[in-house]
């Protein structure tokens, strides 16, 4: 029995030890530590949340950029396609116009050639008439006036000309 009932000298020391230790730990030692533990837990939770938020943001941005990139690529392709079309039509126009001009030049050249030919023919006819009159005058002696001869030869040349002319 002596062993089971606490001795007074030990009971007192233990009661005081409990009271002192409990108040000390409860009021002074534990609060800063538990506060720090809670604060650390909060900090870690916040950091994780922030990291998660950042990751989500980054992913959203990446998606946005991808969309933008795709759009830009499409846009560029469209622009290039349009450019090609414009160039194509411009080329066609230029070629057509060049052809047209070339044809016009050709026509004009022909006309000029024709005109030159006609002028040359007229000049030739005149020269031939003069020469003929002169030759005939020499052959038959100037019985015919110059004017009459001319008229005669010109009529003849015109006949010849209309036969050989174009």
């Amino acid at each position: 029995m002596e062993k089971i009932i606490p001795l007074g000298v030990e009971l007192y020391v233990n009661l005081v030890a409990f009271a002192v230790l409990f108040v000390l730990l409860w009021k002074f030692a534990f609060p800063p530590i538990t506060k720090m533990l809670d604060q650390r837990a909060d900090t870690i939770r916040e950091s994780l949340e922030k990291a998660e938020q950042t990751r989500v943001d980054a992913e959203r941005l990446l998606d946005e950029y991808k969309v933008h990139m795709a759009e830009a690529r499409q846009e560029a392709a469209k622009v290039i396609e349009q450019g090609r079309k414009v160039a194509e039509t411009m080329k066609d126009d230029i070629v057509a116009k060049a052809n047209e001009e070339a044809a016009a030049v050709l026509v004009r050249a022909r006309e000029e050639i024709q005109a030159e030919k006609r002028a040359a023919m007229a000049e030739l006819q005149a020269s031939v008439a003069d020469l003929s009159v002169a030759v005939a005058g020499k052959l038959i002696g100037s019985s015919l006036s110059d004017a009459e001869h001319r008229k005669l030869v010109e009529g003849y040349v015109a006949e010849v000309g209309s036969l050989n002319g174009n």
Partner: protein, 279 residues
């Protein structure tokens, strides 16, 4: 108990060396005043005769160590823990999460200061007792029963505060108990509650006391086989030495385990008192 030297049952100086040594050991492990041969006879509750004992001396040292440890730990508390602050935090976190909150749920954090005080008091006393020549402050019933009674008073006070005195007493009788059985159930619960501080006290005391007896006995074996060397000593000496080492390690484990058991039972009792009316 104040065992006489040599041990009771062995008359005079006729005892053999082993019996004498074991008698000396049990005497040294009994409660003795710091000064003088034995506690003064009579009323040990008489404050005039107050004296420190071999156990309370080390107990006070352990309490001082707890205080210094946690005051330093609290001062060093920082968001990025290091050194003693880290150790103090690990202890606090263990008791708060693995004892209080695990047993009682989130509301258990409220009772952490009380349970933490018990845990660290018991732990430091148990551990200090493993450092020769210290004795564990918890190796005497004066300590373990006092703390058992403190736990008993506190958890019952919590139960009464939560459920009201009548509601708390009513909860001792489970609902659905037949009328004729009610007095017995009530009596049984009263006995079971009354035994709680006793079992708390005996368990802790017996573990610490027995551990030191065992260590002492094997130390005696070592000393005696060296002193009176015989052929038997060739076997006993190395075995005793190995046992001494193994038991030291085991005692460290017991020191932590008993602190854990004492505090987790406190948490369980408080939890039971809080939810008494639900049963």
């Amino acid at each position: 108990m104040t065992a006489p030297v040599p041990v009771a049952g062995v008359e005079g100086a006729a005892a053999d060396p082993l019996t004498a040594a074991i008698g000396k050991l049990t005497h040294e492990l009994s409660v003795l005043p710091l000064q003088g041969e034995k506690l003064a006879a009579g009323d040990s509750f008489n404050l005039a005769a107050f004296t420190l004992t071999n156990y309370t001396f080390w107990l006070i040292l352990a309490v001082l160590l707890v205080a210094v440890f946690f005051i330093l730990g609290a001062r060093r508390a920082s968001l990025v823990p290091k050194g003693i602050g880290n150790l103090a935090e690990a202890g606090v976190e263990f008791v708060r999460n693995s004892i209080c909150i695990d047993v009682m749920g989130p509301e258990g954090a409220k009772y952490f200061p009380f349970i933490g005080t018990i845990f660290f008091f018991v732990l430091f006393n148990n551990l200090l007792g493993n450092v020769p020549p210290a004795l564990p402050g918890t190796g005497t019933v004066g300590t373990t029963f006092t703390w058992g009674i403190i736990v008993f008073l506190v958890y019952n006070a919590i139960g009464i505060k939560k459920n009201g005195a009548l509601g708390y007493l009513k909860s001792f009788i489970p609902s659905g108990t037949p009328g004729w059985l009610k007095p017995f159930m009530f009596l049984l619960e009263i006995i079971s509650h009354t035994l709680r501080p006793v079992t708390l006290g005996v368990r802790l005391f017996a573990n610490m006391y027995a551990g030191h007896i065992m260590l002492g006995v094997f130390a005696i074996f070592c000393a005696l086989t060296l002193e009176h060397f015989t052929a038997v000593g060739l076997i006993v000496l190395p075995l005793s030495f190995v046992m001494q080492v193994v038991l030291r390690a085991f005692e460290l484990f017991v020191a932590v385990l008993q602190a854990y058991i004492f505090s987790i039972l406190t948490a369980v009792y408080i939890n039971g008192a809080l939810h008494a009316s639900e049963h």
